[in-house]
Structure formats: C-alpha cells, structure tokens
Amino acid sequence: MVETAPAQARPAGPGNYFRSVGVIVWKDLAAELRSKELLGAMLVFALLVLLVFNFALELDLPLRQAVAPGVLWVTFAFAGTLGLNRSLALERERGCWEGLLLAPVDRSAIYLGKAFGSFLFMAIMEALVLPIYSALYNINLFQPGLLLVVLLGSIGYVSLGTLLAAMAIQARTRDVLLPILLFPVVLPVLISAVNASAGFLSAAPMDQIWPWLNLLIACDVIFVAVSYLLFEYVVEE
C-alpha cells in the first residue's frame, strides 16, 4: 500500500470538545438540508395541528386571542417530537450511532451536539409557523417578549427531549414512546411558556410576567444540567 499523509492529531483541550459538538451540529444540518425530510414533515404537521385547532375551536376574535398561547405551544410540542425522533433516528441508519460512540469524544459532547441540532430544527419550524399563525389568527406574534419565551421554552423542551429520545429509539415501541415519556415531565416548561406568552400577548405588566420567565429559566438550567449528566448512562452499552 502506498504511504499516505500521516494522521496529525490536534493537542487535547477544551477546543476539541466544542469542535466535536460543532461538527455534530454541522453534520445534522448538512444532512437535513440535503434530504429535507425532517423540516418538511415538521412544518406540515404543525400546520395541520393549527388547522385542526381552528376548526375544532370555532371562536370569535377575542377568545381566539385568549387561546392563542395554548394552541401555539401544543403545536410546538407535537411538531417538536418529530424533530427529536428524527434527529436520533438519523443515526440508527447504517449504524452511525456506533460511529459516534466509537470516536474518542465525550458522551456529553454528543448530547450537546444532538440537543443543539434539534434546537435549531425546532427554531426553524417555529420561524415558519409564527408568521402563518399570525396571519391566520390576526395577531402580531413578532414581539420580542414572545420570541424570547419561544426561545427559552424550546431550550427546555429540547434538552429533556434529547435525553428521552435517546432512550425511546432504543426501545421496540420507539415511535409512540417519546411523547409518552416526554409530555408528563416537560409540563413545567409548557406551563411557564404558555403563561409567559399569554402575558406578553395581552401586554400584561412585567411584574406579572417575570415569575413565569424566572420559572422557565430555572427549568431550562435544571433540565439541561440533568440531561447532560444522565446522557452517558443512556448511550453506554
């Protein structure tokens, strides 16, 4: 065999860790942009949920505005499970999951990479759903306060979701298991997000909204920390 250029390893350090996280995120994005399977599915699903709510709750304008935060977050929660499932199912094809586990990267780096990737997918879906929702329900959803809540809520959702999805896809009942596992435990995030969103949409005074924002931030911190620490137990063999 002809000698090829030797392998040069970078010196070890924190740079390597974040580089690993970054490359996993890049890989997920690149693969998804090529196939476009996931984003399409998430978007269509979200729109369908919106339509169903519209026809199921034939409401006049003020009531519609009152239920808007709830409908929005239910939509995000359902469409979000698609993203989480897909992000991890992607690795099961052609055995790529083992490819990740064989690499000398910290398991927590895999967690962060996957979680951040799922977060980006969810954000893209939300960015597409919000204007459509604004138009359909005649509400301006592009207020900075609301966008902040969407951001924080997505972080909390995706952090637990990635951990639980990693378990769900290793089970026989993988398709139905993720929502069953996720929804009971992600409730605090949804409750806080819905109430904070409602606060911003009804232009409530900030001191009424702050407690919900605080709770949401606290949930994010706790959920990310717990998932980060427990992830290695889920992916070891």
Partner: protein
C-alpha cells in the same frame, strides 16, 4: 446473590401491618369525630392523603434506587425500583379515586383542579410512562439503566410541576371545579383528627414497606426462575 430476609422478620412485619391497619380502621370510624360541614364522607381524607403520601414516597424511593443502580450496577436496586413503582402506582390511583369519592358529595364534582391532585395525576402518568418504557426494552441491563434514568428525571420534574400549577392557582381564580384553591384541605383539624391522621400515615407507610418486601422477594424469585430456565435450555 439472593438476599433473603429471614422469614421470621417478614412474618412479624406482616403481622404488624395487619394490626396497624385494623387499628387505623377503628380510629377512622370510631375515634375520629364527625366533621361538622362535610359529614361522614370526610373520613375518606385519612386514607386519601395517606395513599397519596405512599404514592410520593414510592416515587422518591424509585429515584433513589435508580441512583444506587447507576452507581453500583447491582440488580437488586433495579428490582426494588420496579417494585416501588408498581406499589406507588396503585396507591396513587387509590388517592385519585378516593379524592373523587370525597369531592362528589361535598362539591358536586368528580374532579377538582387542586394542584396536589393534578400533580398526583401527573405522577401517575410518569409511572405509566416508566412501565411502558421498560416494556419496550428487551435487554434486562438496559431496561434497568433506562428505568433508573427516567425515575430520576421524574422525581426532579414532578415537584417543579407542582410549584408551577400552584403558582397558577394563586393568580387565577378557579374556573372549573370547587371554589377554593386548596379545596381538598379545606377544613379545620381537631386534635383527635390529627392523631387519627398521623396514625393513618404511619399505617400506610408500614403497609408500603410490607408490600415492598414481598414484591421484591417475588422479583428475586422470578430472576432465579429465569436463570434456571435459561441454564436448562442452553446447557
């Protein structure tokens, strides 16, 4: 690897549990006074809260044994965990149903959106999800590991759920259900009631421990049987 509790201890525990239960029944129906406003149905309270307490205790035990399993990898902790979950789920269900029985005559509704009741229901759902998770995994070691992880996640998120619902109740007036945010606790306790209540808590805790011992024993036996069967077929 089988740890057998001496059968004498087990029998003693069973006897104690049975006696306590009889005594508690006596106290609840004989000793505790009739509540002024709600009447006899209020007596459900003693077992309702005790059941909820056992439900929550089991939940915490499940999480603690989860942590123990992940750090020590001893199968015993996994068996204790599944036993605790099963028992806790049943007591949680008793708590919810007894809550309904209590609510109906008093507030004319089968369900109140009381934060504690809702949280208990969420806890039941987490229990159910736990069992479904385990059911979907064939390999015992992975099943134990995943169960441990989910139990830990549950014990952290459910109290936060409780806090968020309770906060919701304090700023929103009740829309559906009874008119009191702390509906299911809305009566004053006399000393006799308090004594009965504490005794019921004790009784149910001992009952939980007894059931747990038996259930773990059953699980250990099941393991032994499985091992012998496999040895027979692959030998």
């Amino acid at each position: 690897m089988i740890r057998e509790r001496a059968s004498a201890t087990r029998m003693a525990l069973t006897l104690v549990a049975a006696l306590l239960l009889l005594a508690a029944l006596g106290l609840v129906f004989g000793y505790a006074p009739r509540e002024a406003v709600m009447g006899e149905v209020q007596r459900v309270f003693y077992f309702h809260v005790s059941s909820a307490w056992v439900g929550m205790l089991s939940f915490v035990v499940a999480a603690v044994t989860g942590g123990l399993y992940l750090s020590r990898r001893e199968r015993y902790w996994d068996l204790v965990q599944i036993s605790s979950v099963e028992i806790g789920m049943v007591f949680g269900l008793i708590a919810i149903l007894s809550g309904s029985i209590w609510a109906r005559p008093v507030w004319n509704t089968w369900w109140t959106w009381d934060p504690r009741l809702v949280t208990t229901s969420v806890m039941e759902l987490v229990y159910a999800a736990y069992l479904l998770l385990r059911q979907g995994i064939e390999e015992p070691e992975r099943r134990a590991r995943f169960g441990a992880v989910y139990a830990i996640v549950g014990v952290i998120t459910v109290p936060i759920t409780f806090l968020s619902i309770r906060f919701l109740r304090t700023i929103h007036p009740v829309v559906i259900g009874s008119g009191d945010a702390s509906a299911l606790g809305g009566f004053a306790m006399t000393p006799k009631m308090l004594e009965t209540f504490l005794f019921s808590l004790l009784t149910f805790t001992v009952l939980y421990a007894t059931l747990l011992v038996y259930r773990v024993r059953l699980a250990l036996r099941g393991d032994m049987l499985e091992a012998r069967r496999n040895a027979l077929f692959s030998g």
